[in-house]
Structures are given as C-alpha cells and as structure tokens.
Symmetry: D2
Subunit: 405 residues, 4 copies
C-alpha cells in the first residue's frame, strides 16, 4: 500500500499499489484449476472465482460507475452475481448458491479483471488533481477490500479441499511460516494500569471500525510473549479438555457436542498420530508450531484450563504498539475476549460503503494480529478482525493474558 | 442394447453395445465445461463428472475386479469416491458433498473411463464361452445402469444451470421432441375388466423389480390417448389450482406452501408471459407441448381438478402393450397412482446388486413410459421408474385415466 | 354401534349408541389429571383434552350447526381451536401448538361435552323420520370418528407419559390383553390363487376408503397363523438386526441411524433386562407376548430377516374373512406391505367430510386388524388403518406372509 | 432482602427474608390453574410448576444436602427433573421437554415447597453462629436466584398465554405500572469524560458477575432522561423502520425477515388499531407508555433511526448512581450496547455455583435497570441482566444515549 514517505507522483504510487494488489490475487488463484475455482464448501466460504470477480465488481461499482466518464460495465448482469452484501448497491445472488455459478467461466472472470484493470489504470493515469483526491480514498478501500479477500481465498480453498477425501494440497511446497520465538505460556510481560490511546488516528489507511481513536483505562495486564503451541494444545486434549463441560462456555459446549469436536479443525488421527491438513496437504502436527484453526470457544476453554484469560483487544493493541509480544503478526490471528462492537462515537458512513463493518457489530469476537495468509501491507496494530465464536476455518490461534482489576 | 435378432458373434454384439453406451455418456457430457461438470445443485442430483466416474466404477467393481485376471484398479481411492449407495460394496463418500470433488479432475475422469474401457474391451474380446456367459448379464446391467445415469446427467445439469441467474443453455440448439398427437384429455380408450399379465417374463434385459411376471385382475379402465399439455396446465393454474387446498393431498398442499409452488418447476413469469427453462435455455411455454417437470402431488391435484385419476402402473403397462396411447414413450415420464413396491414373490438378489432396486420400495411413486432424456434402447413397457412424490426435476408429465370398480 | 339386527326404534338405537361412545371417551380420560390432559408430546399426538373437545366439535360442526334449528355454538371460538384438518370447515389452530391451550380448561371442556350431548340427544329424540334418515349416516360417522380418537387418546397419552423420567402409569392395573394362540412364525395357512372380493359392500357403517368393493386376483399366499412375538424380536436384535443395513429399506436405515433405534419404541434396557413401558407402567418384556410399537421399517426389516414378507392388505382381508388367523383383532394392528391408496373407482365425497380419508393417500402404509386400544364395535375385516412408515407410537405389530407369483 | 441496617437477630432477618421471597413465588403462581402451570411454550421458557420446583431444589441441593444433618431429599428423582443447567450437580432432564412433566403434579410440587420450607426454616432457626456464617451467603444466593425466577414466571406465562388464540389474561386487573416522567428522547443529561468506579464492591449481596469492582474511563456521554415510548416506536414503524435493511445489523435484519417482525412482540393489529397483549390481556397500545418486548436488534435499529446509540452498561451504571434518569428501574429493562462479558480479573467460583453466570458470557447483550416483573429488593445499579439479541419475551425496552470519543 502507498506509504506517506513515498515521494513518487501520487498517480504512480496508486498505479503501483493497484498493480501489486491485483497481481497478488491472481498469484493466489494460479495454482487452482477451473474446477477448484468454482466450488463452495459452506455458506461462510466463497468460490475462488467469486472472490476474483467480486473484488473486481467493487471497483466497477464504487469507482468506475461514478467517476469514469462513459464507462460501460463489462456485463450488466455481474452486479447481481458479484455483490456480496451491500443492500444499498442493489439485490444480490443468494450467498449459499455461489458455488453453482459456472458461467461466467474462470476464463471470462479473467477477462473481466483485465477489463476493469485497464479502465482503472486509465482512470488513475488521466485523473486531474481534484479527481485524484476523490479517487484516492476509494481506491484505498478497494485495495484493502481485495486484500481481505486474498486472505479468504486461502481459508476458503483450504476448507473446500478438506472435503475431498483425497486431501489434495493447494500447493505441495507450502510450509508453515518459520517459527521465531514461539514460547507458549512460559513467558509474560506486564503492563501497568494506565490510560492508553486506542484506535487509528494517523494518516494512513484504516477501516472505519478502527476509529474514532479514543482513550481507555487499561487495567494492569500480563500478556504472554508467545503463542499457544500444538504441544500446549495436545496437553489440553490429553487432560480431557474436550470432554469436560466445566471448562466451556455453555454455547461452546453445545458446539463441541453438535460438531463432535475433539481437536482443532483439520486435525486427523491417522495410525495413532495427529496430522493436520494445511495448504501443503496433510502432515504430522509439529509440537512447537502455534496451534491454528481453533474457534473462540476452544480458545476460551483453553484459557480457563490454563488458569488465564484471553487478552482484551485493547491490551493486545497496546502490547503490539510496545512490541511486547513475539509473533504478534504474520502467523495466526489471535482471539481476544472482546466482543466486536463500536468504539465510542463511531458512526457508520452513509451509503453502501457504510455497510462495510458496522452492520456486523453483534455476536462476533475480535481477533487481532494477522496470519500467514494476510497479504503484505495489510497489517497494523489497530486492525480489528472479527468472526463468530464457533468459526474456525480462519488461521486463528491463541495468546493468553491476565488482568488485575 | 443387444437384441436377440442380432446374428453377430455375442462378443461383437457386446463390444458394440458397450461402445455405443459408453460413447453416449461422453456425448452428453461434451457440451459442458470442467466447471459445469463439477457442481452439484442439491443432494438429489450429482455432478456430471461424478456420473461419468460412478458408471465407470460400476464396471470396475462388479466385473473387472472379479473377472479380469490381474486387474488393478485405476486408483484405489475411487471406490470410496464413486460408490453411490451400495452398502455391500463398502463405505462411500457423503452424497451431498459430491460437488466438492475437484480432484480427480475432469481430465483424470476421462482417463479413468478410457482405462476401464480398454480393460472391459479386452476382457470381452478374449472371453471364452463360459466366461462370456457369466459376463453377459453383468455387462447388461452395467450398461443399463449407465443409461439410467445418462438420463440423470441431463436432469441434473438442467437443475444446476437453473440456479445460475444467467440461465445458460446446456445446448442452445436443443428442442423439445416433435409432438406427434398430443391431444390432452380429449380422447380416451377403454380397456374392459380382465386378467392381464404384468411384468417382465421375456428373454431381453430387465431389472429385478420388473418381475416376477404375474397375473392381475385389471378393472375396467379408460385411459387418455394423449398427454396433458401446457395449455391444460395453464387452465388449471388460471382456475386457482395452486391456491385451493381441497384439490391436493394433505402432504402435497404442504409442499405447495413450503415451496411456494405456483407453476411447474422451471416456469418463470417474465413480462407477464410464462417461460420455461430447458436444455435449450429459456423460452416461451408452448401451449400444445406436454407439461413437464411436475411432481406427483401436482399430477394428482390436476387429475382431481379434471375429475379423473392417474392410471395405475398396471393399466399403463397393458395399454402400452396394446398401443392404445400416443406419446407413451420418449417425451415425458408419466406419473401413475401406484406406489412403488414389490411384485408378488419378488426377492432382491443377494449381494450388492440386490441393492439396486429393492431397498427403495417405500414412499415413492411409479412413473411409466420414458422421456426425451431416456437413451435409445432403454425403453420398454414393463419398465418401472420411481421417484418421491415431491420431486419434479425429472422430465415428468401427466396422463389421465379412470377406473370402474 | 347400531347393528341391523337391533329391533328397537331407530331413535332409541341411535341414542344408545351415542351414549355408549360418548361415555367411553370420558372413561378413557378419567384416570388423568388436568395437567395430563393438556400436554402434547409431539406434533403427531394431541392432548387428551383436545381429543375430547375435537370429537365434540365434530358433532357441532357437521350436525348441530346444520340440522338443529336455532342451535347456538357453545363458544364461537371453539371451531378455530378444535378443527383438526378440515380445510373446508375454516381456519384452524396450528397442530403442534395444541398443547398450549390451557383455556378452555378441562372442566370447561367437560361442560362443552355435556352441552353438545344434550343438544344431540334432543335432536335425535325429536327427529322425524325424514330428518332421522339424514342424521343417521352423519351420526354414524361422528361416532366412528370419536372411536378413532379413543384409540389415539391411549396412544398419545402413553407417548406423553413416556417423556416423563418418572414413567408414571396411565393405569397401574392395566394388563396386556390375554394371549390366545400367539404362535409367532411357527404355523402358516395357505390361500390359493383366486379372484376375491375386497372392500366394504355391506349395509353397516364403513369409511369411504373401504370402498368401492371390487374384485382382485389374489396370488397364492401363505399367511402366519400367529403374531410375531417379543421372543422372535429379541432373536432379531441378538442377530444384529438393528446393525445390518442390508436388512433395511434405505429410508428405514436412515430412520434407524437418525433415531438411534435399537429396539421397539418404549423398550428400555434396565440392569441388563429389557423392559417396556406401557399403559400399566414399566415392566419386563414378556417373551410370548406379541411385539408392539414397531414401525413399518422395522416390520419390513424383520420380515426380510425371517425370509418372508408382510402380507398385502388384500391377503389379510381375505384371511380375516376366512378366519385363518389367530389374534387378527384386538391385540396389535398389523403392518401390511400395501401402500395406502385409493381403491379402483374411489372418489372422495364432496365437502368437508370428503377430507376424512382421501387426502392422506400417499406415503403411508396400511395396517389391518385392530388393537387393544380399539374400542368395541370399531373392528371389521375391511377396515384400513394407515400411518407413515417411521411411526411407531401406535399399538402396531407384525404378522408374516409369503406369496408366489 | 436483608439490609445491613436491620438490627434484628440475623436468624430472624434470614427467616423473614426467606419467608418473603418464598411467599412471593406462590403469590405469582396463585392465579394459574394446574393446566397453566404445566405448559411450556418454547425452549427458552419454563413451566410455572418447574420454576416453583427448581427454586426449591436449589435450596435442597446447595444447602440442605450439605448442611442439614440427616436431611433426606423429598424425592430422589427430583434432582434429575429440576436441575436447570448445573453440570456439576449431575445430569438433567432435557430443557425443551419440561412441559411434559405432569407428575409430580402441581399439588405435589406444593408439598415439595412446604417440605423444603420447613427444613430450611428449622435449619436457620437452629443454626449456631458458625453455621450461620456459612449459610448466609448460600441462602442469599438461593433467594436472589428465586427472585430471578419470579421475573421469569411472569415472562414465561405471558409467552405461553400468547399462544392461546383466546388470549386469556394472567390477571385481568393487572395494569402497566404508573408512568412517572416518561419523556422519550426529548431530554438528555450529559456526563463528562472521567474515571468511574464500576461494579459491586459493597457489603450487600451481588452476583459474581457484578465484580470485581474496577475503574473505567467513561467517555463523554449524553443519556436520555426518559424511556422510548410506544408513540416513538410507532413513528419508527410508520417511517418504514421494519422495512429498511440499512437501519439494521445484518443478523438483526435476518431476524426481521425470518420472524416476519413488523412490531414489538405481542402487538397485534386489530381493526386497524395496534393492541398489545400483556398480563392483563389484550388492550390498545398506549402512546405515552414505554415500549416493551423489543429485542436488542430492534433497539439498535431504533437508535440508528434516531441518530443515537444505546448506552454502554458503564454509562448506565454511572447515570443510575447519579440519579440522572427517570424510570431507570421498575418498568422495563433497558438494552445496552455492551456485550455481556467478564469484568477485568473476573474468575468464576469453583463448583456448581460457579456455573451461575460465567458460562453465559458470549453472544448475549447486557440489559440494565429492572422491570415491572422484578421483585422488590432485587434491584441495584450494578445488576447485569443479559439475553440474546433476538430475544424479546422479557420486559425489555429502550433508552437512548450518545458518546463523544
């Protein structure tokens, strides 16, 4: 993403950022066949082809339609097909039926991307300064939006492939990113009680839900230096963690029973040895690697088992700003014990883009950090990711904490 | 299929039949892209690629594995993937998840078919007379099985394509087969009470559920010469047929309400004109064409509305044998008022092939005749097709009848 | 029920029949507290109080409203509450919510019954011959209707009580009716092929679905003299009957798996001994008693296990007419392998009473005979009871048979 | 509840408190017949008889069993029947089946209450000081627990009665409590930013989830003086509030569509006039009365429509402590925008009583204040009530607020 220290012409910067992000999407889709790009394994996930088209539609809908004189949509019917949830942008195709859209084909979606890329590139290159000022924030949100979908492309295809009994690899050469100092629960740092500034108040890009910046009184908090590891998790399993309702939230226990959970998602016991299915295929669980693909319910039960809590999102943000944690970013998202809600004084923007974040502010928990699937440049300490407490197909892990009232 | 009048060497006849049927499957898949071959639009339907692989597995499982010395399966894992419901043949992949099998790819399934075709061809060509006698009934069931799936390929892809808002055609040049004497309810033929022979007792191929041949006392029956047409159906709709619970079976009315039914499946009102979606795409409903894609519930309600009944399967079979009906075959299957059950003295064969028909003998209604999607040579008066009364994605239509006790 | 040999004045006969039936309903409700009369344990069952009120509404709706001059309904709101499924008689309260109707109270329903009894008694006593001729068939259907509900009162309260962990008895003194010659599968009688008359054609009361009487060609059939016993059933269980999918219809096996079936309904293993819960409470399963509370799926699987079939309803009716069976009536209903459908030439009567039987003619199986819960005078060889193949809260058992094509 | 200013002997105080609370439960049950005490209208609600027995079991399980020498349970089987969700206290009867427990009867439950009352009274009266110190906190939680169920008795019976088409009144003389200064959104009070103490730190009784007391930085907040009224709500309805997805959380809109919501629960349009069903029966909606029986989703949508927010639970608690609001207590609970979670440093107590609050800390929203159904003495500013955002059968209303970051 463009940085303020970049001294190039703002058009050149925008064009470079645009090209970088758009190319990364294609790079992630490249290992996949047409068949693999069309399927959808659950309503929560979307087909790869849909991600590629939807992110393209976003530019067409929110930028080209209003700002490129004489722009004609690539295909009038795509708005219906590739709108995700923007009520203000018109009716949409049913989400759980996305996997039935064989046409436009993968090749036609490629053409669609090229068509919109050309139009966007022309629009940026030819924009006068006034137009550029209007375009810049819209393009930034479009690119950040596409980066979010880049992460989902990997989580969604992994979920889909996991339903194939043959367990095909997304990329057989893929490896879990190098562990730096994954130390589990052995080391903690303490932050004293004090007033802290939370939220995004700077000049770079941020989503509306990261603001307004505001002050909070952080209680005295100890936070784990490292992530909870697979070895830690196996200890939890061996101690009967998945069999003891006293460790679980009531709805968490219901999820355990309904889903028959006895290990993280994608773990399979094969000849008595725990394996996990990942982007590289099936492999033996590495004890020192951070645990991944656990739900909030599991993270919470584990914390209770360990006699700790999960951090609040504020504690995480402060600790991240002070660099008190190892592996805060780039490996697994970390569940916080904060429900996803509005910051004080938050108001959603008017219009369709106001639907981006605000309308999901209930029944979800905040995750902080970022994961191996998060694209470069899409990470910052104020970033608020959010999912439902039962969901575990994201690259989600656990860091522990403790507070003193 | 081989006919008894064929004077060629039985090996040559079998090879020709094998080639004909296997080629027809590929011909039906040919218009479809890889993406279109992988998707599954409901649990009742299967992907095209799955049909192609499953019918191939059938030969591998029930013939090559036991009769081709030294035969090694193309891929050991395919048995799990492509077994449909044969409990005796081992565990199976979950039916509703068939649409998530991106690998083996369409191309690999093509290779699988070629591999099995070569093995089967060699086996037949080299068989001595004793082996041939063993093989012949197995191959016949394998080819008839594949022909059934050929019909399902068309019904299933039509259902899948109907979920794409773009309504793409399977084959834009496709046309409803030429109407011969579709005369709706205007003409009837009468059969007097009498003892009739029902079921298959001849020498050609038939499924086990078509026998034992047996005698029944057919009551005096009038049967419609023609099929119920779209014009007839529109009259039913205009008379409020879909709004009057008194015309419906209790469970039929529940289906109307739950599904919001107000017309046959695939009918859509566009600019005030009824269109229907078919293999050739969306087109205006033709009044003189036979109504298609109606459920048993709808057929029964229509018959009540018309002051008639549906024929019993025995009446249909007798009338077909006496050629009393137009369009009995090759256009639409015709719902009978007979529940699908065993003929007197029926026993399922032992082993996996005994699961073919017998275990479905409850909660389904018999359809007789055949449809535009039925492959050549797969039609006979004793043939018993069966579906649940709410299902309407088959090429199913209506013929009326009347009985006197 | 009135018999033709009764030489009393037809008014006196009707009054006596009316009093007998109405009193029997109250006798069956008498052991139950107000609390026990209001609850509903599943959508298939109804509260005792509802049965008492609904049977009363039937007389009000179909007789008093049209034939008793100046009759005013006891309460205008009861028609909505106590109509079961007669679309033609107006809107109804939702079936699964019947258990929430605390008012009218049990006492008020008692008043309602007394009010309608008085009106009916007056109407009958004062009717002239013309009116009497009109009334007689209506009253007969009203009384037969009430007798059907008397059976349901016992099956429904048993189901409700079975959900109480305390397993309270409906009547602690209740005993399974005396076994006469329950001989399981050890003895059979053979009926030769031949044309037989089926259905009700006499002068006494029968439901419309028992006609028209018609001729059928019965195939050669052997039918078991006795009922299948609990000892027979235990042998099936011990042989793994509930664990072997090859014995089951496909939908039957799905029911076994979904419901966790491993024994008849109401059987419970207690300290290693099979007990069954019945109207008298929990007691040890008696080996010689007929098995009860099994579904069609179970009956069919058992027959396959035994190498036999279930009888057709026609075979049962002929055998009953010739008195070839022990315990055909009065102990358990016997599943036949006949799907419930219309006899040749059947037409439902117009109007609300035409909804009585015809609209259920799909997806159900016929049971023949009668049970311990069937009231006196409600039994005849042509009687067709019908339930869905998964249902097992009725007093339903098994008799075996065999046919030769 | 006992107050610290009470100078009586602590035994006398406890006995008086015990008698008061136990009597209030009976007073609330008194208008209801046996039939009305047994029914259960949804899984979220429980039968009146169950509330009466469960609150009694609580004393038996957590006090008498451990502290009354020689105490024998009234009935050993009641623990299974009347345990609600205390995993640590043993297995329980299925929650949705509570409405099928006809025995023990209402009268027997009355006996059970009397039996436990006698034992508890004896235990308290005879307790020495050491025992008294142990008993006091347990009795307090038992009485507070029973008071919570007293509120639920009214919400649950109202829900059950609402399913009776006759809409019977719980108590025909019941009236909505006198409005004091219900002023809707017309007047607000402002609280400046500042550090505030939140949570219970005093000596009286409080639930564990009200602590630990801790300091927070409250942002500058304006809070409405009055409650949102029915007139305000009708303005929302007339402006199309229930038809505009832009006003709703995404899951809220799904609830609107799934439930067909177009007004608060229990509102019914009758002859063009909005009525509401309450404890006194059906009556015309009073414009000046506070709106009641709305979900969090509705409260949130209304706030968005009004250009405001809901208060945080902290803002409410501070405003309540400073008496800045009218009608904060005793009319309707007020939804806050705070998700229900743990206060910093919260740890659930070990053992069964630790299950009281902590295991519900996800997916629910906090309500503050109290309602017309809240018993006397069960109200305090730190009290945290919590329900799922879709639930609306509680006496739940709306107060608006605003924050400045």
């Amino acid at each position: 993403m463009p940085r303020d220290t970049d001294r190039r012409d703002p058009r050149a910067r925008l064009l470079a950022a645009f090209a970088t992000v758009r190319t990364e999407t294609e790079r992630r889709a490249a290992p996949l066949s047409d068949e693999e790009q069309v399927i959808q394994s659950m309503a929560d996930a979307s087909p790869i082809k849909w991600h590629r088209a939807h992110t393209t539609w976003f530019f067409e809908q929110f930028i080209l339609a209003g700002h490129a004189p004489g722009y004609r949509p690539f295909d009038d019917r795509f708005s219906f097909l590739f709108n995700s949830y923007y009520v203000a942008a018109g009716p949409r195709h049913e989400r759980p039926k996305r996997g039935l859209i064989t046409r436009p084909s993968v090749a036609e979606v490629g053409d669609y991307r090229a068509f919109v890329d050309a139009a966007m590139t022309g629009l940026i290159a030819d924009a006068d300064d006034t137009l550029l000022e209007t375009l810049q924030p819209l393009i930034e949100i479009g690119l950040n939006h596409e980066q979010q979908h880049q992460e989902l492309m990997l989580t969604d295809i992994l979920h889909a492939l996991s339903h194939n009994p043959l367990l095909p690899a997304y990329d057989a050469t893929w490896r879990m990113p190098g562990k730096r100092r994954v130390s589990g629960m052995s080391e903690v740092t303490e932050m004293p009680e004090g007033i802290q500034r939370i939220g995004h108040g700077g000049t770079g890009f941020a989503y509306d839900n990261e603001g307004p910046a505001h002050r909070v009184l952080l209680p005295q908090t100890r936070i784990g230096s490292g992530l909870v590891t697979n070895a830690d998790w196996m200890a939890f399993m061996e101690a009967g963690g998945y069999q003891d309702p006293m460790l679980w939230l009531s709805e968490g226990w219901a999820a355990v029973e309904a889903g028959g959970w006895d290990a993280p998602l994608y773990w399979r016991l094969k000849d008595g040895v725990w394996h996990s299915f990942g982007l590289g295929g099936l492999s033996i669980v590495e004890p020192e690697a951070p645990v991944c693909h656990v739900s909030y319910y599991e993270a919470d039960a584990f914390a209770r088992f360990a006699g700790r809590s999960l951090p609040t999102e504020q504690a995480f943000e402060v600790a991240a700003g002070q660099q008190l944690m190892d592996d805060a970013f780039g490996i697994v998202w970390q569940w916080t014990r904060s429900a996803y809600g509005a910051y004080p004084g938050y108001r959603a923007e008017p219009g369709a883009l106001g639907e981006y974040n605000g309308k999901f502010m209930v029944n979800q928990m905040v995750l902080r950090g970022s994961s191996l699937a998060t694209p470069d440049g899409h990470t910052r300490p104020t970033y608020r990711n959010f999912f439902h407490p039962h969901q575990r197909w994201q690259f989600s892990g656990v860091r522990l904490a403790d507070e003193t009232a």
